[in-house]
């Protein structure tokens, strides 16, 4: 099934994670799940790239991680946005919108 799910543009994974976390802290599984749901099952984040990405974002100071208890009563690691992460989200979202609009313009008119 996942073979026909489109490849993510480079860097968009960060944006998706940032946007997903804007609503509140989530654990890794919930992040992947949420992205899949919101994209109407089109975007499937691979686990093999999710965790490295999360850690790179921790290192950049965009995210913060804390251990907590999940809805199923298991120990889970919850990620949330830092102030810097919020700023980053605003900036990247703007950039992304510009890029998408531009691409669509080309697609419609060219």
């Amino acid at each position: 099934m996942p073979d026909d799910s489109p490849q993510l543009l480079p860097g968009t994974l960060y944006l998706l994670i940032l946007r997903t976390l804007a609503a509140g802290p989530l654990h890794g599984y919930a992040i992947a799940r949420r992205i899949k749901e919101r994209s109407a099952e089109v975007l499937d984040v691979e686990e093999g790239s999710l965790y490295p990405a999360l850690n790179r974002m921790l290192l950049k100071g965009w995210l913060r991680a804390e251990w907590g208890t999940s809805e199923t009563n298991r120990k889970a690691r919850f990620y949330s946005l830092t102030k810097e992460g919020q700023k980053r989200l605003v900036a990247e979202a703007g950039e992304f919108n510009k890029l998408v609009n531009a691409i669509q313009l080309v697609m419609k008119t060219a």
Partner: protein, 871 residues
């Protein structure tokens, strides 16, 4: 900022890595279980759900590795691994590691020590607050100017503060019934406050105080045995009572620089003191602005108090910083700077030798490890990785070498710290390691690591892998090219070092045995320093009678043949005058440079300079009588040619200088340095000029002078208990004159020997290695009937080519490199010194013989059977 935070996070991650990995495993486990829960709620059985969830997740190991990769600093991890590996390799081969490290330690120790001395002497940072805003003022280009000018500048309030010091005064200290002499610095009001000098104990001399003193650390520790209750102690200096207000710290460096540090500081007395001017610029002022302001002040001064001779607004008037090169250019003779530059170059050469040594050791190691490296290459290690690994080895070597080298340097610094230079100046070098030394050492580490490691590492990976894998490298004479070039080059450089060292040792021997033109074996120099206040009001008569009775007593002592007084002791003080001179034989004045001295009756007989024509001065030659002079041979020849100067007159172009009648011609002698070119000299009678408070008596003894020192000291001491007296045989007083050649001989001789030692180690190592690589070949030759002499010839030819080539190259190099050294040598000694050349060739040939002997013996001991079985 972001970079630092990242670094911090990475390091924190590194510290808690195992916990992090456990956490990550938990997190992934949670992910899989959550997915399984979801599948289960959709009706998939639990075991099936878990399996599917795991499959969907993919490789957990890979995910964990990628996640760790986000945190790691790959290069640091690699470096750490390489260093660990190198450390293990060194432990397995301690002989190699020890040799390499001690070579580097010697080279680096020599370098840092020379660097330390050089920076301590030439580039020391004064111990003051905010050195950058401090300036030195050179009124008319002079080092010191009058106290009155200083006060004028200070009252003008152009600067944020002004400080003046004369660091070369002397004071007598009366301690019970002993009197001794201190080097004193006289300082202006609030000198220490303006400069912001930190204190160990107490404080500086406060503004307005006239009777407080500050002690240097070395005097406090030495003379006063580090007395903790020193503050408030009363000292009788120059017949006046001073109270100790403070003690300077051990690492104090005076604002004057060049290691000059007086024993004691007292307030400047006033008008008769000339001081060096220092000023603190207010915020925002620059050097050109400061100079412009000063020039306008000096122009005012020139109008109010015209200076005789030079104008204060002279082009020479300069403003410089108190540190670094500008101070150096203004205040230091080029030859001293050149000497230190040469020392640095020489020390650099020693390090170069040490590095080539280590490089050839590493090369040898790399070629015996070629199989291991080939295996690693063929298993997929990148060449870059292997070069990095080999460089890590040399880096570890140089780090260890530098640590040992710095330890050597500390030991040397301690030695230098306690060294008293035989100069009539209060010079005390503070050579404590500082950040400059650390930077220097760090640079050396990296340069030497690159020098030692790069060549062997590149060579190691250039080899053909399949060839190296198949068989151990067959040793033939051709394949030790790079190593032998290294050793040859090393020999060449060490020849340069050694010839320089020998040249300076030869120079020292020459200088020591050089005839100064007077008798140093039967003469004593007694220095009597009077307290000025005691003699100032009585005028000249009191001093004259003191000198007269002193000479009477000295002459009456048993064993004393003659005694005289002189203004200057040759080779310890000098006074060169350049002026226009008129004679009664020619109407045109001539411009001359000559040495001057004022000497009492019997001077020439006492010091042993023959009078060739005419007579010595007598007691009749004094103020008011016919002005007379004695000239030396060279003066007579230069000014009068073949005419006998006795009976003629000379007149200098000074204001109201009367023509002097020449009454005698003295034989030439040395005046300031042993190595000087023959100078012109004019002697005048001692009592014809104003009396100084520094009395220099010369005494001629019948027997050994050492036996008379005490009776002379006592005889002079009984005349005036407040006078400081120091008597010593003239032979010992030659310290200053011999210092340059001694310093040169010691430093360069040491470097030469060090260089030779290192080169010998290198030569030995390479010969030994190459013979051991030829074990098989030699075994084969012996089995085929080669005799021991044949084998020796093989080994001998190898070292002969190496040593001979290196020597020829080195001698040619030395010939060119040493040309500029002529400045430092005594006359008659050329840079092409056959003695030095032969000595060097002899020493190196002996070393080479020794270095080849052991491998040759080893080669002979090879059992043909053992050697052949290797095939």
């Amino acid at each position: 900022m972001a970079f630092l935070r990242e670094l911090y996070l990475r390091l924190r991650w590194r510290a808690g890595r195992s916990r992090f990995q456990a956490d990550l495993a938990d997190e992934m486990q949670f992910h899989i279980e959550s997915r399984a829960d979801e599948l289960e709620s959709n009706g998939v059985p639990r075991s099936e759900a878990l399996l599917r969830a795991r499959r969907e997740f993919g490789s957990r190991l890979k995910a964990a590795e990628d996640t760790s990769g986000a945190w790691q600093m790959q290069w640091l991890e690699d470096l750490a691994a390489d260093l660990r590996y190198a450390g293990r390799a060194f432990r397995r081969n301690p002989g190699f590691a020890l040799t390499a490290i001690s070579c580097l330690a010697l080279g680096i120790g020599a370098n840092t020590t020379i660097f330390n001395i050089t920076t301590g002497f030439l580039f020391s940072q004064p111990s003051c607050r905010d050195n950058a805003s401090l300036i030195a003022i050179w009124e008319g280009g002079k080092m010191r100017s009058s106290f009155a000018d200083f006060q004028f500048l200070r009252n003008a309030q152009v600067f944020a503060g002004m400080a003046g010091i004369n660091p070369e005064r002397e004071v007598n200290w009366r301690d019970g019934d002993r009197t001794s002499r201190f080097y004193a610095g006289t300082v202006t009001d609030d000198f220490f406050g303006t400069l912001g000098v930190p204190f160990l104990l107490g404080r500086g001399i406060a503004p307005g105080e006239t009777n407080t003193a500050v002690l240097s650390n070395q005097v406090w520790r030495g003379t006063f045995a580090g007395d903790p209750a020193i503050l408030g102690r009363k000292l009788i200096l120059e017949g006046r009572v001073y109270t100790v207000a403070g003690v300077l710290p051990a690492d104090h460096r005076s604002v004057v620089g060049f290691g000059i540090s007086p024993d004691i500081y007292i307030p400047a007395a006033g008008d008769d003191d000339n001081v060096q001017f220092y000023a603190r610029m207010p915020k925002g002022m620059t050097l050109p602005v400061a100079r412009a302001r000063l020039l306008s002040l000096f122009a005012q001064l020139d109008r109010i108090h015209p200076n005789e001779g030079r104008q204060r607004t002279d082009r020479q008037t300069r403003v410089t910083g108190v540190t670094g090169l500008d101070l150096l250019q203004q205040a230091m003779p080029g030859v001293v700077v050149a000497f230190f530059a040469m020392l640095l170059v020489v020390a650099g050469l020693v390090l170069l030798i040490a590095c080539t040594n280590v490089a050839s050791l590493l090369l040898a190691r790399a070629s015996s490890r070629s199989q291991e490296l080939a295996i690693r290459l063929s298993l997929g290690a990148s060449r870059r990785r292997i070069v990095r690994h080999l460089l890590a080895e040399s880096l570890l070597l140089s780090v260890l070498g530098s640590v040992a080298g710095l330890a050597i340097d500390m030991a040397c610094a301690k030695g230098i710290d306690s060294l008293a230079l035989p100069v009539p100046l209060p010079i005390h070098l503070v050579v404590s390691p500082d950040w400059r030394l650390l930077w220097y050492a760090l640079c050396i580490v990296f340069v030497s690591a690159a020098l030692c490691g790069l060549l062997p590492a590149l060579k190691a990976v250039r080899k053909d892998v399949s060839h190296a894998l198949k068989q151990e490298e067959r040793q033939t004479a051709r394949s030790w090219n790079l190593r032998s070039v290294l050793v040859g080059g090393q020999l060449a450089v060490s020849i340069v070092l050694l010839t320089t060292g020998f040249l300076f040792v030869h120079n020292l021997l020459r200088a020591t045995s050089m005839n100064p033109g007077f008798d140093v074996h039967h003469t004593i120099w007694a220095y009597m320093r009077l307290v000025p206040e005691k003699y100032s009001d009585a005028g000249q008569t009191k001093q004259m009678s003191l000198v007269r009775s002193a000479l009477e007593r000295l002459r009456a002592l048993p064993g004393v043949e003659a005694a005289a007084i002189t203004r200057r002791v040759p080779l310890n003080d000098y006074c060169a005058i350049g002026t226009e001179l008129r004679t009664d034989v020619s109407p045109t004045p001539i411009h001359l440079q000559y040495e001057c001295n004022s000497v009492g009756p019997d001077y020439f007989r006492t010091i042993g300079i023959p009078i060739l024509r005419g007579r010595e001065f007598s007691t009749a030659d004094r103020t008011g009588s016919q002005p007379v002079a004695i000239v030396n041979e060279t003066f007579a020849r230069t000014v009068f040619g073949k005419t006998d100067p006795v009976g003629h007159t000379i007149a200098m172009d000074f204001a109201n200088d009367k023509p002097k009648l020449i009454v005698g011609v003295a034989k030439d002698s040395r005046y300031f340095t042993l190595g000087e070119r023959q100078r012109l000299a004019v002697y005048e009678p001692y009592f014809s000029l104003g009396e100084p408070i520094n009395l220099h008596f010369l005494v001629r003894t019948a027997g050994s002078p050492a036996a008379c020192v005490k009776s002379i000291t006592d005889a002079l001491g009984s005349l005036d208990a407040t006078a400081a007296i120091e008597a010593k045989p003239m032979r010992r007083a030659l310290g200053l004159a011999l210092l340059p050649s001694q310093a040169g001989a010691v430093m360069l001789g040491a470097m030469g020997i060090l260089g030779l030692m290192l080169a010998a180690i290198g030569l030995y190592g390479v010969l030994l290695f190459s013979v051991s690589r030829r074990t098989r070949e030699i075994g084969l030759r012996v089995a085929l009937g080669a005799t021991p002499p044949d084998v020796l010839r093989i080994v001998g030819r190898q070292s002969l080519v190496l040593v001979g080539g290196g020597m020829l190259a080195g001698l040619a190099l030395a010939f060119f490199v040493m040309q500029p050294l002529a400045t430092f040598l005594v006359p008659g000694l050329s840079t092409v010194d056959p003695t030095a050349v032969f000595a060097v060739i002899g020493v190196l040939a002996a070393t080479a013989l020794l270095a080849s002997l052991a491998p040759a013996v080893r080669a002979l001991r090879v059992d043909p059977m053992t050697a052949l079985r290797y095939e």
